[in-house]
């Protein structure tokens, strides 16, 4: 998983969903979910906009291992 959203911290403000430039984050009910993690560009727009510090990045194994 690249961008990872902590559902306990997410307040459902939708900003990460709204601003993701590659449409990978979608609201599911009142929580934002990274629905297409393999299409994440790692630009960090979601984290920049999150006021609740609910977004962190976990780099996929291949990125860190090669």
């Amino acid at each position: 998983m690249p961008a990872v959203i902590d559902p306990a911290k997410c307040n459902g403000c939708e900003l990460c969903d709204l601003y993701c430039p590659v449409d990978v984050i979608h609201m599911e009910g009142k929580v934002a979910v990274v629905r297409y993690p393999d299409e994440c560009w790692h630009c960090g727009a979601c984290r920049l906009e999150c006021a609740r510090d609910a977004v962190r990045f976990e780099f996929p194994l291949a990125m860190l291992s090669v």
């Binding site: 709204l18 430039p21 449409d23 299409e39 630009c43 920049l48 780099f59 990125m63 090669v66």
Partner: protein, 561 residues
């Protein structure tokens, strides 16, 4: 008639693509007093190449140094982008606009200065002096988005434009759909500015993920394809661009590393770039890539970014500025175990992309000094045009395009009509993949395109390899009828995949016509490995004729000796 919700909108100037160039176009058109509509596939607050930030703005500042003048800068453009940059257009769309672009950047609240108030400039990419202003552009995109709203531009976010429509050979409007709701848009405009960036996801990426890219993976040549189908001439399409990126993460950072004095070394710890260019690590980007490829090919890889000689303060600034351009890069480097001190970072050559061969030109819609294409009403700006690229030209030339488009729109008395039959046919085409129970996914289809492009011209090419690619890519047209999408996100990706496929064909055809090599390795013909200025110093222009036939022509460019 379908029961799909549809919207009809009329405007004077429509901006397709709300990245840096598009938003500057919108500001200019609004300032000219016409109605402005911005349409973006994402949200203009964070979309396009600088969605996550930007850290360099190239400029001459007339400070008195011999290299810091308009003439010296244009001399640099002519040397480094010879055969691709049209200096007359460059002078009009960049030099005439630069001073205002710098002022505009600061006026909307983004300082080009360091926290201590000074302007910090660095040198790389063959520049005769430090043309890059290093700045914190993290908020540049959100600020520009605020500015266009302040100027009362209408914004349609999350709408993918699917085709341009003409009336009697002149622009009438365009169609698109909302990538979440599927609502269909029929938009009439007196003029459009196309500012949709370059074409990515066309070649294999370093760890196999087509979204782990240097440039924005949402830029998929959507309007290159649509404009080409509408008869718009394109140029610089044969170039396949690459850069040097950290192993595992295709992130920008090239300017920051070399601007701060880092150097490439091979696995013998030899700095090798002076073997390939007299300016060593300050050489133009294509030479850096060429040098790296030779070291890798000859068995002296991996290659590394050697930062061990940098002072702690310089390293601190380097890691800070890497995070301005790519928010997640510093933590990636730390997660890989690179400490800031004694830093020797493994690098590699990035994925190829279809894009400009230099920071000093573009790749796409052939524009004149007024940013106009050959089709009345269609203008272009930024990476989507053949003469603008990079932040500095998107900021400066984007504004010029908007101003010229607005002036054109003011001269047009009436909106031209959209043909109802053509619009109905387009609506059926756009949504066809949704109705299919079985079929091919965009992932499978796009992967086939990537394999063909990588094997045949990614980046080395010959007449045989290009003809082979065109044969395979032409046969793949039939697969469009089998593409299936299960939701709106997949429908967007499916159209992106088809557009990448068509741009690949345009690129291969243009490459076939350029029987020389230029900007090695961005256009490297193994059957014509030398640069041939006598016959090919200029633009290969490619255009679909009214009958559907594809033709190329050569526009010679001239430079001072």
């Amino acid at each position: 008639m379908s029961d799909r919700l549809a919207h009809d909108i009329e405007t004077d100037v429509a901006i397709i693509g709300g990245g840096t160039a598009g938003l500057n176009s919108a500001m200019a058109a609004a300032e000219a007093g016409v109605r402005v509509l911005i349409v973006d596939k994402a949200n203009i607050v964070h979309s396009g190449a600088i969605a996550g930030g930007i850290d360099h703005f190239m400029a001459y500042l007339e400070t008195g140094a011999s290299w810091d003048t308009r003439e010296a800068y244009l001399g640099y453009v002519g040397r480094v982008a010879k055969g691709a940059a049209d200096l007359e257009v460059h002078d009009a769309v960049f030099c005439d606009e630069l001073e205002a672009a710098l002022a505009r950047t600061e006026k909307i609240g983004v300082s080009l200065r360091q926290s201590d108030g000074r302007i910090f400039r660095t040198q790389a990419m063959g520049q005769p002096g430090p043309y890059f202003i290093n700045f914190d552009g993290k908020q540049l995109k959100p600020r520009m988005a605020m500015e266009v709203k302040r100027r009362k531009c209408q914004v349609l976010n999350r709408v993918q434009v699917t085709n341009l429509h003409l009336h009697d050979g002149e622009l009438a409007g365009f169609t698109g759909f909302d990538i979440r709701t599927g609502e269909f848009y029929r938009i009439r405009a007196k003029a459009v500015v196309i500012a949709t960036g370059n074409t990515n996801r066309m070649f294999n990426a370093q760890i196999g993920n087509p979204f782990n890219l240097w440039y924005c993976p949402a830029n998929t040549g959507d309007l290159h394809r649509a404009a080409f189908d509408a008869g718009v001439a394109l140029a610089n399409m044969e170039y396949v661009r690459m850069t040097i990126v950290p192993k595992g993460f295709s992130a920008p950072g090239f300017n920051a590393f070399f601007g701060m004095g880092a150097q490439l070394v091979n696995s013998l710890l030899e700095p090798f770039m002076t073997r390939y260019h007299e300016m060593g690590n300050k050489a133009p980007r294509n030479y850096m890539v060429w040098g790296a490829l030779q070291e890798l090919k000859e068995g002296r890889g991996p290659i590394y970014m050697d930062c061990r000689h940098l002072k702690p303060k310089e390293l601190e600034h380097l890691f800070f500025t890497l995070g301005i351009d790519k928010d997640t890069l510093p933590e990636f480097l730390l997660a890989k175990g690179y400490a800031k001190e004694g830093c020797l970072i493994e690098m590699t050559v990035s994925e190829p992309m279809q894009a400009r061969p230099s920071e000093l030109c573009g790749s796409g819609i052939r524009i004149d000094r007024t940013c106009a294409s050959n089709v009345p009403g269609i203008y272009a700006a930024g990476d989507a045009s053949d003469q603008m690229g990079c932040l500095h030209m998107a900021m400066a030339g984007g504004f010029a395009a908007g101003r010229h488009a607005a002036a054109y729109a003011k001269r047009i008395a009436l909106l031209r009509p959209l043909d109802p039959d053509a619009i109905a046919a387009e609506e059926a085409r756009v949504f066809r993949p949704l109705g299919r129970k079985t079929g091919v996914s965009y992932r499978e289809f796009e992967n086939i395109v990537r394999v063909i492009c990588t094997d045949h011209f990614g980046p080395v090419k010959t007449e045989l390899s290009l003809n082979g690619a065109l044969g395979k890519l032409d046969r793949l047209d039939a697969a469009h009828a089998d593409l299936r999408a299960d939701n709106m996100h997949e429908l967007m990706r499916t159209h992106e995949a088809m557009n990448i496929h068509q741009v690949a064909k345009i690129s291969a055809r243009a490459a076939l016509a350029r029987r020389e090599s230029r900007f090695h390795p961005y256009h490297y013909r193994a059957d014509f490995p030398q640069t041939d200025d006598a016959n090919f110093c200029g633009l290969m222009v490619i255009r679909k004729q009214p009958g559907g036939e594809i033709a190329t022509r050569f526009d010679r460019l001239r430079y001072a000796a």
